[in-house]
């Protein structure tokens, strides 16, 4: 085919002008590189958020008292509702066939003290099942058992941040702290979890037995949250339905709206994934637009090239090239330029994404589909922006083109 015969020669001609070839494809390189980097960063962010959601527990369904709403990125209760009780959790565990475990919990921010150190900390009252349902691991010491829960013992398990704040990082096991005015014995320390998707420190908390918290600390008879573990990931939605029916019945709601909110991990994952995806898509598209600018670079260089190589065009016509041969040649050259730029851009973007990851700035997940699309799009841009110069070259009259030099 004429095309392939000429390709080698085109490569040779383009390669002979290294600097210009480099400059002409810079825009494409940057554009494709940016797309790959941004999408990889977005995928990294998505992975991070999803990991955090998974960290929250396995097959988790969360029941909150009252209607909640997401305000400034965090889920907040809009009014205090006192209808959710610890009994509800027991009923869910007993009566819902899709549910494996249900752990009631309630929390409040309270002043805590060890000797002269003070800190305001989120104090969570929870039953022992909660550790399992919420994937809370004990790093040192121990958790509390159902007996201690029932007996409303004053034992506390601290998050790493609390240990840092009150004990300067020293092992607090066996020491006594005060929560509000009530003395507690520290029996264990939780493994660190880091920040959640919204940047809230998940390690800044103290867990105490639920009964202790309700009676001795908060003086309430209701709870805020029930953490439920479904028997399998497939049963998350069924479990949610069962829980809703049961609670509506227990709370005698009839035609009134729910006085609780249920979320399950699967829908949470879907929502978060959608959010990060649309964000990534948005920023990626902006980067994609810079590819268009890269196309203009190619347009400019190809126009100069046609002017400069007018004599060559004339000669090729004289030795038998048809107009269409000239057109194809220049289209091929601009496509080739863009392809080289796209390839370098992909390598650069992947390299940058790996570097960002390795240097620890941001976790990235290389997106090969984005790389492929970026590359294909750059070739497309090269050909589209090559059309005008190619038509211009093909339209030259051979005798005038020959005379041009």
């Amino acid at each position: 085919m004429k095309l392939s015969r000429n390709l080698a020669l085109s490569c040779e001609i383009l390669a002979a002008q290294k600097l210009r070839t480099l400059l002409s494809v810079t825009g494409i390189v940057v554009g494709v590189g940016a797309v790959v980097l941004i999408v990889s960063a977005g995928r990294g962010a998505e992975k991070k958020i999803l990991d955090r959601i998974r960290d929250m527990g396995t097959n988790l369904i969360v029941v909150n008292a009252g209607q909640t709403r997401i305000i400034a990125g965090r889920q907040r209760q809009i009014a205090t509702v006192t209808t959710l009780k610890a009994d509800d959790a027991e009923a869910i565990a007993r009566q819902c066939p899709s549910v494996a475990l249900a752990a009631p919990a309630t929390s409040k921010k309270l002043a805590t003290r060890y000797e002269s150190e003070n800190a305001n900390t989120n104090v969570v009252g929870m039953t022992p099942e909660g550790f399992h349902v919420r994937n809370i691991a004990i790093a040192s010491g121990r958790s509390f058992d159902p007996e201690e829960n029932r007996a409303q013992r004053r034992v506390a398990i601290l998050g790493p941040t609390v240990v840092e704040n009150l004990f300067d990082g020293a092992d607090p096991t066996g020491l006594r702290i005060r929560i509000g005015r009530v003395p507690f014995e520290v029996v264990g320390v939780m493994a660190p979890k880091g920040m959640d998707a919204n940047g809230v420190d998940q390690d800044d908390l103290i867990i105490v037995p639920l009964g202790t918290a309700m009676r001795r600390l908060f003086n309430v008879t209701h709870i805020q949250t029930i953490y439920v573990q479904a028997r399998s990931a497939e049963l998350l939605n069924t479990g949610e339905k069962e829980i809703r029916e049961l609670l509506r019945q227990r709370h005698r709601l009839r035609d009134k709206p729910d006085d609780f909110t249920i979320q399950n991990q699967a829908t949470l994952v879907d929502t978060e994934r959608e959010t990060t995806r649309s964000m990534t898509f948005l920023i990626g598209s902006v980067a994609g637009i810079s590819l268009m600018v890269g196309g203009i670079g190619i347009l400019a260089v190809m126009l100069i090239s046609v002017r400069e190589r007018t004599g060559e065009i004339g000669l090729r016509r004289a030795v038998g090239a048809r107009r269409s041969d000239i057109r194809t040649q220049f289209l091929l050259e601009s496509g080739l330029l863009a392809a080289v730029g796209g390839l370098v851009g992909v390598l650069g973007g992947v390299g940058a994404a790996l570097a960002v990851s390795m240097l620890g700035y941001w976790e990235t997940v290389i997106s090969w589909p984005a790389a492929l699309i970026g590359f294909a799009f750059s070739v497309f841009v090269g050909i589209v922006f090559g059309i005008y110069p190619a038509i211009h070259a093909a339209a030259l009259e051979p005798i005038e083109a020959l005379r041009a030099e």
Partner: protein
Amino acid sequence: MIELKTIEKTYGSGDTATPVLKGISFRIQAGEYVALMGASGTGKSTLMNIVGCLDKPTGGQYQLDGADAVTLDDNALSHLRNQKIGFVFQQFHLLERTTALKNVMLPLIYSEPYPEDAEQRAEKVLTAVGLNDRMYYRPGELSGGQQQRVAIARALITNPQIILADEPTGNLDSKSGLEILAIFKRLHRDGHTIIIVTHDEEVAEHADRVIVLKDGKIEQDRRVAQPRDAEKEVDERIGREDAE
């Protein structure tokens, strides 16, 4: 082979119309060696472009090897140029960024079917013009005479019947020019039809026939009784240089 009948070429139209060729008729047989002469502005370049199928006349008829070159479309003319005509230009028109070999192979890119032995053919024609040791040189690394020989090799690669040379010695010193003319002489002896466009009497002396243009018309069409033999002159010159 080549037959022109009352060829006219007028640039522009209406009041600004400028006639350049005003009824040119001649016939060139296969194997002739013709010099097309005339001062600049007499239309000899325009005539050459028409003969070479690079341009179309505005009037008259042109038969090239039985084909009606006036009515053929652009693609057919491209094909005709590729197969029947080899061009040699004053400015050589070589691609600067590639080797002599690739330059010579260029016309083959556009011929169908593409010969499998393209590279061997290019080597052969380059050897025929005495450049067997310069095949991988770029034009910038060659002398003017060598560059013109690359251009001749390129004109020969498709084995065309007609070699059309436009002031082929115009940019060369007399020695290199003579060497180029010697190559043309040999090609003529091998049966090629040679048409050289020139304003130089000395160059025209090498042809069998001289057609002189003036003001867009043929002023003279004569046979040369004793054409100079460039091949012999080059040999003699080498002999002289060896003697010195």
